[in-house]
């Protein structure tokens, strides 16, 4: 943990604030270290991180929510590419966190496990679905015996 991690956690909490349905607030998930490591591995991520930390300043954590959001909107407007990199990194660490995936499962029915090895049941194809299209006559173009043209 670095001395700036509480500030990063606060930043993440404003991006992904959770809600009363059970979505966890990003600031409570101890994501700051993963976020920092993730974003600095991406192209130009290190400079984007430095820029946002400088922009927010230590006073960010004491700001009222509306005030903090306004500051983030201002940064997004002034440095859209850098802000986008940070949002992508924030979503990346948030939506791969086990607590968040458990919420996705609870709230949507998604199975919070890797796609493999279990996968999902493979049902047989139902050819009855093709009843309409099977009635259609072939409609691809014949070329018969057209020799290749050497024109262009």
């Amino acid at each position: 943990m670095t001395t700036r991690d509480p500030l990063l956690a606060s930043f993440l909490g404003h991006l992904l604030p959770g809600d009363h349905n059970g979505w966890p607030t990003a600031s409570t998930l101890h994501l700051a270290r993963r976020f920092r490591e993730h974003v600095t591995r991406t192209p130009d991520g290190t400079s984007a991180l430095a820029l946002i930390l400088d922009h927010l300043g230590d006073g960010f954590m004491k700001r009222a929510p509306d005030d903090a959001n306004a500051l983030l909107l201002k940064f997004e407007e002034e440095a859209p590419d850098e802000f986008e990199r940070l949002v992508v990194a924030a979503y990346s660490v948030y939506y791969t966190d086990p607590g968040v995936l458990a919420a996705v499962e609870r709230l949507t029915g998604y199975e919070a496990r890797p796609p493999q090895p279990l996968g999902h049941e493979l049902e047989p194809f139902d050819e009855a679905l093709l009843a309409n299209v099977r009635r259609r006559e072939p409609f691809w173009r014949r070329i018969n015996d057209i020799l290749p043209s050497d024109r262009e």
Partner: protein, 541 residues
Amino acid sequence: MRNAPETADIVIVGAGASSAAMAWRLSGKGLKIVVLERGDWVDQHRSPSLRPDWELALQSEYHANPNIRRAPADYPVNEVDTPIKPAIFNAVGGGTIRWGAHFPRQHPSDFRVRSLDGVAVDWPLTYDDLVPYYDLNDRMMGVSGLAGDPANPDRAVRPNPPLPMCPATRALAGGFDELGWHWWPSDAAILSVDDANGRSACNSCGPCGLGCPRYARASVDVTYWRSAITAGIELRTGHVVRKLEMGKVGQVNLVRYINSNGHEGTISSQVVVVACNGLGSARLLLASGDGDRDGDGIANASGLVGRNLMLHPTAIVTGVFKEQLKSYRGPFASALYSQEFYESDRERGFVRGFQLQALRGQGPLSTALGGYMRRLPWGTGHHSRFVREFGRTVSLTVTCDDLPESENRVTLEPGNRDRWDMAIPRMYYRLGENTKRMIAFGIDRAREALEAAGARDVVVNPLARQAGFHMLGTARMGLDPKSSVVDADCRCHTVDNLMIIDGSVFPTASAVNPTPTIQAIALRAADRLLARLGMPQERAA
């Protein structure tokens, strides 16, 4: 005193889809065949799809763009002048490690574009020339599907039954039915049943692009290479071919490479085959020749090496449905397609046509990042939007035929070199006016289909940018050496022991995914080469 170079009968540069098919077809004939691949083997039994953080891999080690992925075998590409970014994979298996395995065939009309529609050029081949090789390739790759599609010529019974539909694709099929439009289940290089070679049936996990630990989704490291290597092909990984050098008789004399240990070597070969995709092959040819300078390269008397780059411009139109469809289940790119608008109809305001291909939904992270739509907003509205969209989407690509234009091209940047001291390639590409009209028309039709299917919202991505998967046309085939680089057998007009067998040789792009056609051409080229060498051939069909 210099050591004599190693010798071989045939050297193939690259180990992707075309190379694998050709090498397998040439194997077992007593020829010394050496394949040089810059990348390494990928262990699909350790696919990221087995990890909880699997979606992160799509942004990093499995990202399609080499400039973002930056894997050890990747070379940088100058992509400033193209709205469609390069999508390649440098490994044994090439792009088939990373693909969705949608496996359509071109139409007969795709081979007579000039004669039928008065634009571009004709192919020196016909659909019928390739049918036995399409069929052979379908068996080797393990294609699942259903014969009888009225949009295409009759074809042999598919090796495996079609993959199943899901609630999302059933809704889409219903939309096409309501409009009276064509649709058909995709031919997919994905097994619907176990095979006898250790490949298991698909289990609908979803992210085929991360490799398949079941080997259900075909990739040529699993299909062709295993058999080819058993039959004696020598495949060397970590070998970057930097240059092909010409001898005194108008033939390639030496293949010059550097391997992953930094060792520089040469191979002298009776035949040299280039199979590095439409970007890498053009780059190698332009970088080759007698001198140290990069420039016009070899096999380029026509001046067409690198030109006529085609990329299949693609829009993605997504429907958001009210119901939870769990649309993230099932192969993401191989479900169904519509070829209602495939053939030319000038009343539409353009020539040639497009395919609508279904794409299933994505995982949680990809959904939040926008998937095929737009990034979800941050802040208090984020989670309600996520719930509204996750698992409830299905998309249609509008994959357009792309007419060749000379100014769309791959060139070299001599002053900008990679870590193997090769000039990096630069892509220059602009959408043509015909394509712009086609894509706009296609977006409207995709919207119509999704609305008929019951989507409550339809979101349009007018041009998929990280989607330069199909790099075609940069060394096209033809009858006339003045207007083409290779002949119908993939043999260079001006360097008769040099062949190019990847998508570079496509004179036109068609509107379907090119891999089945690339592989059919490569198999046919192998047979034609065997005939030239006086070697026995097997029947294709």
